[in-house]
């Protein structure tokens, strides 16, 4: 099953039978239905599916208004960069709602597609999901595999309150990653641990989980059993499970594929400052990387080099 097919399935299951629901966005029930993300959605009773206008700013306000009125709203957004048009509502309207939650009982979820598959050119390649969530400390969740998709969408979509749930265009037509096991998952789906080993601690941010998953397997093939974490929520979280693991392995590999200058990975590094490390590998994008031309948006990670570094204690 493809990544997008699974997410579509989980969404359909989540909204089934839910009342007072408005699903909206551009072409969500027409054409490709956002490349299959919103295919075959159905609602009951007064609930509605709306192929909306192209008015991202006001559609964010529409969602908050629905929430204020007690309805549940989900805004499916074709591209994360469109959400920059709605930042006013994230940094202003949302503050009123969370300041007076007793008056606003509804639900609002924005589900943007993070355009991280490349070949878009100078525009439409904004993948800094953490920046969008960070500027107003908005709850935000990145969906990267079967386990986190089920946990996050089931827990948050159409639940009371507001959040952003991001999905990756780069992964849409990739085979769904099905982690072998889930060692640990925080209650709200902010942090997941998929492997527990002594050889190193891999921590993935933004939408870099597939890179970490591939590295984990390469390390295993080379006799290094590593721990693998994925940081799904991009607002402050409890790092304790990661810290305890790093104390054990003393070797960390951070992977963050966001194009931001201010990376969530740095927040973790700051928190680990008093832990003595034998090895620290930080894999991020460089400003010299070519992301202004229509090229692939894949991060190039030299797994063999990482293996050599870990073996050369």
């Amino acid at each position: 099953m493809k990544y997008v097919e699974h997410i579509n399935k989980v969404i359909r299951e989540r909204i089934a039978g839910h009342s007072n629901l408005v699903l909206f966005g551009q072409n969500i029930s027409a054409g490709s239905c956002i490349s299959g993300l919103t295919k075959d959605l159905s609602v009951k009773g007064n609930s509605r599916i709306i192929n909306s206008t192209n008015s991202e700013n006001s559609l964010c306000g529409l969602g908050f208004g629905l929430m204020m009125g007690g309805a549940s709203a989900v805004f499916f957004m074709k591209q994360l960069d469109f959400l920059t048009l709605g930042i006013d509502h994230l940094v202003n309207t949302y503050n009123i709602i969370r300041n007076m939650p007793e008056y606003y009982p509804g639900s609002f979820t924005i589900m943007p597609v993070i355009m991280d598959h490349g070949y878009q050119g100078a525009q439409s390649s904004f993948n800094n999901f953490s920046d969008i969530c960070s500027m107003a400390r908005v709850p935000g969740f990145a969906v990267t595999n079967k386990t986190d998709a089920e946990k996050i969408i089931s827990a948050h979509m159409v639940s009371p309150g507001f959040r952003i749930i991001g999905v990756s265009q780069r992964l849409f037509n990739e085979e769904l990653i099905v982690p072998d096991k889930c060692v640990f998952a925080s209650e709200g789906g902010e942090l997941f641990q998929y492997s527990d080993g002594q050889g190193a601690t891999i921590i993935c941010f933004n939408f870099s989980y597939p890179y970490g998953y591939a590295l984990l397997r390469e390390l295993g093939n080379n006799g290094i059993r590593a721990s693998l974490f994925n940081v799904n929520a991009l607002t402050p979280i409890d790092w304790e499970p990661v810290k305890q693991n790093v104390i054990k392995t003393k070797r960390i590999i951070l992977i963050d594929d966001s194009k931001s200058q201010n990376l969530s990975a740095y927040a973790l590094l700051a928190d680990l400052y008093n832990i003595k490390l034998d090895k620290k590998i930080v894999i991020t994008r460089k400003i010299s990387d070519n992301w202004l031309n229509p090229v692939s948006d894949e991060m190039r990670i030299d797994n063999e080099k990482i293996i050599r570094e870990l073996k050369n204690k």
């Binding site: 700013n57 306000g61 908050f64 208004g65 309805a71 007076m100």
Partner: protein, 297 residues
């Protein structure tokens, strides 16, 4: 005017936007609202909050950020709402509230509560793109909503003619198939009748109505002297107190229709109005200063 006096004395930490002269439309909106109707306001919300509540002290206490204020001191002035009276949201961001109102209007259809959504903006807010976007959404989704635009001709220290070309709201609304109405003259009785008629249309047709209301924000101040304005520029006050407005037993600021009190002469003798005003002032003074008086006893 009592708020203005406190404002002049620099007693507020929060920025209070007065609305002397906006009372007729605020009173009319209040009178046509039913239990299921919702009101969405802007930063200049004082007249509507007072009209809906019918009391000054909780609003004043909110401006002083007291726990006993209308919102427990959590909202201050520009975001002051009162959900128990149908004021669901007030935004300090120009144009931000139109789309929120469209969501509230859609929500009334979804949760089957019915009712009209009324959103307030000013002549500055219609310069924002969200105004057009929201009109489009309201019309496309067939939502019952009043979009009330108070045109007081000023945005901070500039008049409309100083900052932009004219926006013809009649044509703008018409281009989207939205009914337009124009109100002026500050006659609260006439406003109530017209808004009641438009409300029936909006609810029956499931359609938004754009209502442009001519208002004069009364009071003023003179800006600093400059080469261009050697005597200082006359500015219709917007974000601060009005030095030219003074509390008196007869709270009229202009002897013409720009002042809603003047318009009331159509219905009452001047002596009656003066008696009403005096009685009201005494009542409010007693209400507001009761705590202070008690403290000094």
């Amino acid at each position: 005017m009592m708020v203005n006096e406190e404002h002049k004395a620099e007693k507020f930490k929060v920025p209070v936007h007065l609305a002397l002269g906006h009372e007729a439309i605020a009173v009319a909106v209040d009178r046509i609202m039913d239990q299921n109707d919702s009101l969405v306001l802007s930063h200049r919300n004082i007249a509507y909050n007072l009209a809906r509540l019918g009391k000054l002290k909780p609003v004043m206490d909110e401006y002083f950020l007291k726990p006993g204020g209308l919102a427990g001191g959590r909202l201050g002035s520009m975001n002051l709402s009162n959900p128990s009276k149908g004021i669901i949201y007030s935004s300090s961001i120009l144009g931000n509230n139109f789309s929120v109102a469209s969501g509230l209007a859609l929500g009334k259809q979804i949760v089957s509560s019915g009712g009209l959504t009324i959103v307030l903006g000013g002549d500055g807010s219609i310069e924002e793109g969200s105004f057009y976007e929201s009109l489009l959404i309201l019309r496309s989704l067939n939502l019952s909503c009043f979009v009330v635009i108070e045109d007081n001709d000023w945005s901070l220290a500039t008049q409309v003619k100083e900052r932009r070309s004219k926006i013809d709201l009649f044509s703008c609304s018409g281009s989207l198939g939205i009914k337009y109405a124009h109100l002026e003259g500050n006659d609260p009785i006439g406003y109530i009748e017209e808004l009641s008629r438009l409300k029936r249309i909006s609810l029956e047709d499931k359609a938004p109505v754009c209502i442009e209301v001519k208002v004069s924000t009364l009071g003023d101040w003179t800006g600093p002297k400059s080469t261009e304005h050697p005597d200082g520029k006359f500015i219709n006050y917007h974000a601060g107190p009005s030095p030219s407005a003074s509390l008196s037993a007869w709270p009229i600021l202009k002897e013409n229709k720009e002042d809603p009190i003047f318009v009331l002469k159509k219905y009452f003798k001047e002596s009656e109005l003066k008696d009403f005003a005096k009685a009201e002032l005494n009542k409010l003074r007693s209400e507001i200063y009761h705590e202070i008086c008690r403290a000094y006893k």
